[in-house]
């Protein structure tokens, strides 16, 4: 291949990839570590391993990739590790919005500003779930019942996304809910199936098997419009059949959990650009589409100023909820 064709190819790739140059000045020279800020088997871990798998399969980089799990302290272990590795471009941290939410509510030794943001790669949706045989057919019925009884709402972790959403529901629906934190969404789903809880706000993938198995069903989705139709989950319904919460009178327009990718602080712009570009390439593969579909997430790609804006907005919002609840740490 001549120089010209390489130039043409890279020019084509640049156009395909969008704004950033496809051939970054920086290239990795040694193995790369993917740090999943969750234990093996969780959503964040699955993302890190899916990305690793796609990169290896398509030979997107020459260097091998190792996935390590640092999920201790609700993910704080991984972020602290990222902070301690400042300037090291061979560590990529995979997390969620708790990169900026956690430091607000607990005394962890990091903040998202200690890390270099790369991108938000996928959005996980939230739904309101009840037990299959619960009497309420829609969110309105649910709120009415919740107003007169003491409802138990389950969720993963404390003062994290699930509890923030629970408090938002309380405010929007003028009800009082008892929030019970568990270790993971899967555990919460089983507790609902067993009738120990009245509801939870799991992501689609966390309750997919349970919905199909007829132990619980979604009432509404916290999204401005209905989810894409996709394949049917149960005999009669798919994700697209779930109404939005706003439709049903629960006025929470949008609540999503981004899956985020970071580098340690103090890396050069070249190095950050390399990974932004790499993640874009990952996102263009059919395997990525497959991953998104199987985990029922929404494909998205926020980077640079857009990503910053997203973080700032989310931060303001969480700060407000956390402030009202008296969660903020000094």
């Amino acid at each position: 291949m001549g120089r010209t064709s390489i130039f043409l190819l890279s020019a084509a790739a640049t156009m395909l990839a969008g704004t950033l140059p496809a051939l970054s000045a920086w290239q990795p020279q040694k193995p790369i570590e993917f740090v999943a800020t969750a234990g093996p088997g969780g959503g964040t871990d699955n993302l890190a391993r899916a990305v690793q798998n796609i990169i290896t399969k398509h030979k997107l980089i020459e260097q091998p990739i190792v996935v390590v799990n640092k999920g201790g302290g609700s993910g704080a272990e991984g972020y602290v590790y990222g902070k301690a590795s400042a300037g090291d471009p061979y560590k990529v941290i995979f997390g969620t919005s708790n990169a900026w939410q956690q430091p607000l509510v607990s005394k962890v030794a990091f903040n998202y500003t200690d890390l270099t943001p790369v991108a938000a790669m996928a959005q996980d949706e939230f739904l309101l779930w009840v037990k299959q045989d619960a009497p309420y057919k829609n969110a309105g019925d649910y709120l009415k019942a919740a107003a007169s009884g003491e409802f138990k709402m389950g969720g993963a972790q404390s003062k994290d996304t699930d509890e923030v959403l629970t408090r938002m529901i309380e405010k929007a629906g003028k009800v009082k809910l008892t929030y019970i934190p568990f270790k993971s969404g899967a555990e919460t789903a089983v507790q609902l199936a067993g009738g120990h809880l009245d509801s939870h706000v799991n992501n689609p993938s966390e309750s997919l098997g349970q919905w199909r198995g007829g132990t619980q069903r979604p009432l509404c989705v916290f999204s401005p419009k209905r989810l894409p139709q996709g394949a049917k989950v149960t005999a009669t319904e798919g994700w697209g059949d779930v109404p939005t919460c706003v439709e049903q009178g629960l006025d929470i327009k949008q609540y999503e959990q981004p899956r985020t990718v970071w580098l340690p602080g103090k890396v050069t712009p070249d190095q950050a650009a390399f990974y932004v570009d790499l993640m874009k390439k990952v996102q263009a593969t059919p395997e990525w589409k497959d991953y998104i579909e199987k985990t029922s997430q929404v494909d998205t790609f926020l980077t640079g100023a857009e990503f910053d804006k997203f973080i700032k907005e989310d931060l303001e919002h969480v700060k407000q909820v956390a402030g009202e609840q008296g969660w903020l740490v000094k």
């Binding site: 093996p40 088997g41 201790g72 302290g73 030794a109 067993g194 098997g209």
Partner: protein
């Protein structure tokens, strides 16, 4: 008998040449990761996971579950030979396995462990085969209060046993609970007891704690006490492997009881670790030779091993049918299921019959392959005991250091592991029991979470622990186990001065 037909179909999937090869490879890899402490089954399985993405789901799960069986067996090897448990669930095996091996009977100890482990696994698989749907329902009945009751039962079966003064047991438990509390608290979300060390936010890894407490602690004691005469002249005798396995049926009561405890804990899901501890504690209390436990008793090996494997096997059932993993390794496999495009949950048994029954059939075959392979390796492992102490001691230190580091590539873990070594040494010297300490480190935070979740649900009323039959039975059984030694002791005291002593004892129970 639908299940039997499905099972036969499953065998036709599992017993094919490629799948048998996968089983052998999986088991061998599993033994390897099980023997190396710090690596362990969960890490081993997650390392292997990416390789399975291109496979058929059924082949992939056969490979991974075979590795799991291998690792469960391998984990017992280091517990018995060097007092270093490779897995949390093989800690209880060290209590009698290690003294027996040190007495020059490593072959007997290993063969007994493997034989009873295989029995436990077999009972677990049979349970899965015939009671799959019923078992799934039982697990659903477990809310936070029931979980707490199960953990309480595990503690109760262990507290008050052992020769140590009760107050020392309480001190050991308290230290264990404080170590378990380090890191982020699930219920409040705040950071606890990190003492300004940022990295401690992740909590203290169990592996780091036991490698120090048992491996290094034991080494320090050995260096001091029996430095010169340590090389064990163990005779390696093939026939002893078969003799030891052949003697197992004599302990059928212990085998059956432990298998029952294991299955129950695997399903509920208290997990293999709680199962093995509980089984050991109960065996010690009810065995005729209970007071010899800790010096190399056969039943002291049988009980935890059988329960561990019965629980490890039956723990796969809640994973498949409910999507709750009963152990760390099951959690990794569940991640794998999602990546292969299968959704664990009640529908898996309906939608993916080939997968589910192929897996269940492979559990029978895989365990037979595993036990055959490990029994073959017994003489090799037993020969390790012949290596002189001056050679083996530095090796143990190296294994512990590398093992601690590899848990999360952290230097702090190595330092902590050595610190735990000193704690282990002090415990031994001052006659404090290690078992309650380890039990509290392993299930202390789970018990705490379950208790506080229950309190949130009941708005602070203890009545939730007596709210239904299931939880009441568990709690009452726990309290009974807790008070039994006390009552027996009081009864003995009363009997000496005067005969009619039963009534006051009952009152005493209420006061306590």
């Amino acid at each position: 008998m639908d299940n039997l037909g499905e099972l036969l179909h499953g065998f036709s999937i599992a017993v094919t040449v490629p799948h048998l090869v996968l089983m052998v490879v999986g088991v061998l890899l599993g033994i390897l990761v099980g023997v190396l402490p710090g690596l362990g089954a969960p890490n081993g399985v997650s390392l292997l996971l990416p390789l399975t993405f291109g496979m058929q789901p059924v082949s992939a799960i056969i490979l991974l579950s075979s590795m799991y069986w291998g690792a469960l067996f391998g984990g017992s090897v280091t517990s018995i030979l060097f007092n270093i448990p490779g897995e949390p669930s093989s800690v209880a095996t060290t209590f009698d396995g290690y003294p027996m091996a040190r007495d020059g009977r490593p072959t007997t100890a290993l063969a007994t462990a493997f034989g009873s482990a295989a029995f436990g696994a077999l009972v677990g698989v049979i349970l899965i085969t015939f009671l799959a749907s019923w078992v799934a329902q039982v697990a659903l009945a477990f809310g936070p209060a029931e979980y707490f009751a199960v953990y309480f039962l595990a503690f109760a079966s262990f507290v008050g046993m052992g020769g140590a003064a009760p107050i020392k047991t309480v001190v050991a438990l308290a230290i264990g609970f404080s170590i378990a509390a380090i890191g982020i608290d699930t219920v409040s979300g705040s950071v606890r007891l990190t003492m300004g060390v940022d990295e401690l936010v992740k909590g203290v890894s169990f592996v780091v704690a036991v490698m120090g407490l048992f491996g290094i602690g034991e080494l320090l004691v050995a260096v001091e006490e029996e430095f010169h005469a340590r090389a064990v002249s163990s005779k390696i005798d093939w026939r002893e492997v078969f003799r030891a396995v052949g003697r197992l049926p004599r302990h059928s009561v212990a085998l059956l009881r432990s298998a029952a405890i294991g299955c129950w804990m695997g399903i509920t899901p208290g997990g293999p670790t709680a199962a093995s501890f509980m089984s050991y504690g109960i065996a010690r209390r009810f065995s005729r030779r209970g007071r010899h436990f800790g010096t190399g008793e056969v039943e002291g090996i049988i009980s935890p091993e059988t329960a561990d494997h019965a629980a490890g096997t039956s723990a796969l059932l809640p994973m498949l049918s409910l999507g709750i993993p009963g152990s760390a390794t099951a959690a990794v496999m569940m991640g794998g299921l999602m990546i292969w495009g299968l959704n664990p949950g009640p529908m898996l048994f309906v939608d993916q019959k080939d997968f589910v029954w192929g897996l269940i059939a492979s559990m029978y075959v895989g365990n037979i392959v595993a036990v055959a392979l490990v029994l073959l390796t017994v003489p090799v492992f037993a020969a390790l005991m012949r290596i002189p102490f001056v050679v083996i001691a530095p090796l143990i230190v190296i294994i512990c250091v590398v093992g601690a580091y590899s848990v999360s590539n952290s230097y702090l873990d190595v330092v902590m592991m050595l610190g735990f070594g000193i704690v282990g040494y002090l415990f031994k010297k001052l006659f404090y029991p290690l078992a309650p300490l380890v039990l509290a480190i392993v299930i202390g935070d789970k018990a705490e979470d379950a208790f506080r979740q229950s309190m949130l649900m009941s708005k602070g009323s203890l009545g939730i622990f007596f709210a239904n039959k299931l939880v009441t039975c568990l709690i009452v059984a726990g309290i009974a186990l807790l008070l039994l030694p006390l009552v027996l002791q009081l009864a003995r005291l009363w009997r000496k001065p005067a005969a009619p002593a039963t009534a006051p004892t009952a009152q005493e129970k209420v006061i306590i």
